[in-house]
């Protein structure tokens, strides 16, 4: 017996909103923009749109919708990102070589899957609902993650084009003076971090577990462009003593002299944004820096990065609000509000690199089956970032959320907040 009850209605509505937001992100694009992949790290926008759709098709429709027929069998190869236990995926670095399926076909694919999902949800019985609901949650969170990647990948793809395309007109924002950097202090002791089983969380956020923390202090806000320019002007990129060895190698090889997207003209710093090339605003948070740069900055400043446990403990009572993707700026703002207790810009604006390598929590268990590959297999050589960014949807953020990237990556909206021992 099918149950199109309130719960289902809410879930379906949420599903449609999230699916719709992906479309909204790509709405300013030309068809050509959907195709390219400027570096292996980024994916063509049409690939993101298809892959998220494949996710629902593969993990929900195929196993749970009787008689379901895939939209196109080859898509199961083309749009499998990295699920090796599901089947050999199409090589990542070659996603930008696929002219077909066309953008139009991919939108048809999305429509087809959305219709089938609607149909499944509207007709499924309670038992099936209980099985589907957690998968749907993951699928929606997954689509939100790719929404962030859509934004950062479009930005990267646009940035390397000598024509410097503009994604949207600059959005005017409120600017306030940058508050003085102040230290918020925390006592030593055993703390509990991680996510309970209540509400959605990824497997990598669970379980709640204990850690010992020494006394420490955390800055009341992340580092600004102005502060980062001081580091640069102080020889930050020329002195090996600030850098991890592998970071220093990249600085020399890639001739890094500033964050990604920055360039200097006539003594002024400019950066490429989704609204084209803009003057760097000193009061905005610095972003598009690698872990190596965040770490070097902290060492230069005489401080350090926080661990992810310190960060999560310190931010326990912050409200999830800030400069998120739903506001549509897609860029950090210089608006500082002091109300949110002492801490500012905890969520949104820029992801904050922590000093914590991405490893499993004590007693954590990956999901069973193929979805166990979602997070666990990447727990090596990557660093944790916290807090979300201006490209993260606000409904996607949680205190316990663990983002992770290799320490040399810079195309995400990544910045830093200082910490120190007491």
């Amino acid at each position: 017996m099918s149950v199109m009850n309130h719960q289902t209605t809410v879930l379906l509505q949420q599903y449609k909103q999230i699916r719709g937001f992906s479309k909204k992100i790509v709405s300013p694009l030309e068809i050509e923009d959907y195709v390219i992949q400027a570096i292996p790290d980024v994916s063509p926008p049409k690939w993101h749109l298809a892959h998220t759709t494949w996710f629902f098709e593969t993990f929900i429709l195929v196993p749970y919708l009787e008689g379901f027929k895939r939209f196109n069998d080859t898509y199961d190869y083309l749009f499998n990102s990295y699920y090796e236990t599901h089947g050999r995926p199409y090589p990542r670095h070659a996603r930008g070589l696929l002219a077909r399926p066309s953008v139009n076909e991919i939108f048809q694919y999305r429509d087809y899957v959305d219709e089938q999902m609607t149909s499944l949800l509207e007709r499924c019985d309670a038992e099936t609902y209980d099985q589907i609901q957690p998968l749907l949650e993951i699928g929606m969170q997954h689509e939100q993650q790719h929404q962030e990647l859509l934004v950062t990948d479009i930005k990267y793809n646009f940035s390397i084009n000598p024509l410097k395309p503009v994604y949207q007109h600059p959005v005017s924002t409120v600017k306030t003076a940058v508050p003085t950097l102040e230290w918020v202090r925390f006592d030593e002791g055993i703390v509990e971090t991680g996510h309970s089983d209540d509400g959605f969380s990824f497997d990598n956020e669970r379980p709640i577990h204990k850690s010992w923390l020494d006394r420490f202090a955390l800055a009341n806000r992340p580092v600004t462009n102005g502060e980062y320019i001081s580091f640069m002007e102080n020889g930050g990129y020329e002195k090996p003593e600030y850098w991890l060895s592998e970071g220093w190698s990249i600085v020399k090889e890639e001739q890094w002299k500033a964050p990604l997207y920055w360039e200097q003209k006539d003594g002024e710093w400019y950066s490429f944004t989704l609204s084209g090339v803009q003057k760097v605003v000193e009061d905005e948070l610095v972003t598009h820096i690698s872990f190596y740069e965040a770490d070097a900055f902290a060492r230069w400043a005489g401080y350090r990065l926080p661990t992810e446990m310190e960060w999560e403990h310190a931010m326990k009572n912050q409200r999830i609000e800030g400069n998120f993707a739903d506001q549509g700026h897609y860029h950090p703002t210089a608006e500082y509000s002091e109300e949110n207790n002492q801490m500012m810009k905890t969520f949104g604006d820029v992801w904050e690199w922590t000093s914590s390598p991405y490893v499993p929590y004590p007693k954590s268990k990956p999901l069973e089956g193929t979805l166990g590959e979602y997070n666990a297999k990447f727990m090596c050589n990557q660093m944790v970032l916290r807090g979300g960014s201006c490209a993260t949807h606000s409904t996607h953020m949680r205190l316990t959320y663990r983002n992770f990237f290799h320490p040399d990556k810079r195309w995400q909206f990544s910045g830093l907040r200082l910490a120190k021992d007491l």
Copy 2:
């Protein structure tokens, strides 16, 4: 005083026909197909359309049309292929990373340049006409060369897509039995080859010059798929004794076992064509082989490749007719006509690899200025091919035409004809 005389009218009509044929070639494409570059050797279709336009703009409109304004100044960087004395070109391997300009903008660019060209021709005086005319000839020949590349690049780009897109429906052709291979004999002596100053030729075809040729014989037709399969079945790709050293290295590294685009299923050979995957027809000419493969085949067969002087001397009296791009097959046919003296399939179908490295003719002079870079600077490490292919327009072919590619390249319609000493 402007002279819109008969000569100009004919030239303008020719210009428009050639420009129109480029558009015809791309007409079956989706917008996404215009953007990609599957390997550095190929270029995105939209790049070809823009680059040929840039050629007219740069070498004719800018210097000869007073008050002319470039369509977009950045295009002079983006669509300069390799003219280093004109300015640093945009890197070739990264042509597939340019979403913009859009396909639509590129068609506008073509229209703009076509209008200005028309206007220039319609209004120019006799003196200007005399200066423009040879440049226009080169520009049109240049566009025809890129028409061939459009066909071969589209084929390559399509071939690597697991969805195996189809460019056009298979075109039905007449099939006749393959004539027995016979040897056409030529005496020793001093021969003259190369192009006179009458009519258009590239600088690399000039001047007429003498060579000594020993007695030799040339096969009456190129090698067929059936003959090439014998080579393969005889261990052609497994025995180093047939191969040049650098050819053998590639065979092992790339695991070559057949021509490009071939694959074996259930004991049958198939190849990817512009009409999708098709069974290999034994009576068609073998194509998509490298110089190394052509040379290895000839050694296996106990013969050799002809030099380009032998080829040109032997073909002196052949009519320029055959399976050309204007017929729209874009694939070799199994139709053999014995009328054309003793030689068959001299022109069209497949380019024939010669044993001649691409070097300047005695006393040859490259064009003055930037256009001197057109041919001369590539005279190293490449081999000459003769005769045109099913992707060459018939009006582009000449007896003296020298095509050239690196000896490992296979994405052109390249085959071979055997020669032997007497």
Copy 3:
């Protein structure tokens, strides 16, 4: 006033013993063996002999011995390993391209520095002694680290030679039955790990600090070859579900099917050892595996690797004894002694991969100046190993000792011990 007191005498004797042990390790080599570098990870033996000498010269003789003249100024460039704040080092990957200085010259260099060191120690006053002594400690520990690398690098260099050179005759060892794997249990609670300021330790082992540990159990011994073969025979190298993503990429790229140095002949496993190719002994500990393999084995077995805090806490009361380099086997043995409490083979035999990324301890401080580059700058993308190996000198080992390598490295004597949650 100079003080050649007892303390100095002891230190000098220790210095000479350690310097002598380096010579002992290389004594079986031909001159040619000193020169080569089979992969960038390893260094030529003569480079190790010179670099350790440069260390004493640079950090002690140059600053503390008045009137000291370097043996050869170019050596300061050639034998600086990675101290960027001291000066640009000669590129690591090119160490095997240096025929000169000759081996003979390098032994002269060692003698020169040893004489000057002796002279300095014999004549220095108490104040200088106090400054020198900690540097000398580091220098000796540093030389001991390079002794281990000498052994592992000689092994690697020999292994790739088709002549399979033999470093020494097989050393006969006692063999006992492998004891059943048993779990030693530990309670939850706050533990203290790390090194106090008493006695020597590297900066990366300090300070003592607290951690919270959940209840856990540790295997009473590391994993054996026999157990590892079960993993292999169970499809260990074929099933992606056991592997971290980057590990799986390497397995496929490098076609790993067994530990480094193993090869199968007629159904039997053999491995290359410093005594040539030998049959794999099932009762010996598995070694020459990467972190990825250790981690995959643990996942296959249903367990996990221990954290370095768990390991250190669990081994707190073990005696530092075992199969060390001073015994000269340079290979794990199958001798198990049950006396050492419950734990066996804690020290010596093989380094044990932990699940802990190599990061700084809370409140740790790198050494001041150039020696701060010794450890701290490598704290990224590497994993901690504990316990020493058959190539470590027993006087070099400590409970708190942290070794670290990238997770894909296999040329060290690295193995694993299982852990589990309770």
Copy 4:
């Protein structure tokens, strides 16, 4: 019946002299110098010593000396250079990773083969002698080719060492004023070049064959350092118009600004020689330039390189004398003698790049069997050089001798002589 006649005696003596000259070349080396391979193009000196020995062993002793036993079976793998039909060779780029066999063992190997060769020659009957003699000739010529490589490879290996080792003290030479560049003129007509069957020649020099030559002139001497510096000071390395496309790519990638081994200090040019770093002497011939540089120089000068047929025709009456390896300078000299008709420095000093790609002569036949791989399989992508150098033994040189290298190679003693059309 054995015939130790005069012919045999002479041949054996020649064999011993040639074998002895290899030893003389390496006599200044330290053992360490024998081992290294600074780039894949060069080989370790001990490899050359062993490979030339393997050549006699493989092509003469194994087939013709009954009961002969190889010195070491693995050597047949290690010291096979590139004879694929003989068996898979050890990879070329890894020759510098072989510490073993030791230098001492390789000298033993040489002695062993020399003894067996002596024994074979002393005892063989006339029939065997007739079979062996041509192989022995090739073997000796082959050893002489490797003698030249020994010199150039030792030079390269030394050059990259920051200690700048010295192979020998500078040899004092006579210096004369550089004669004015004059043009020697040649008429048009059919010429015959190539080697007859009289006396030794490689298969690539045969047969004598006809070519048509237009009128041309050849410079009376090669280009000097002084002239080359003019090219450099005139922007030779900065202007793309002088360069072949692939040459220009290398100029930019490798940042070429001068010949190999040159560096500028305080406005003066120095070059690394086998006698250490020396001031560039303007009156010596320029050397260590690639074909690309030779070709660019000629274009800058308004002339061209000669074809190999022009060169051979023009030099028909020159005596084989000059600055050869037997004189032991191993460097071009500034001694010009006008006696040798009009042409100077035709042989010795520097190899002269021609404009001729290395291709087979009409009707040429490679040797039968494995030795057919000696020359023929390299006839692609290489350019012919003529005349020998200061590292060639005088007894190795012939008018018809064809040397060949890839156009980007610079570590040989390669220079150029100008030609022009008349």
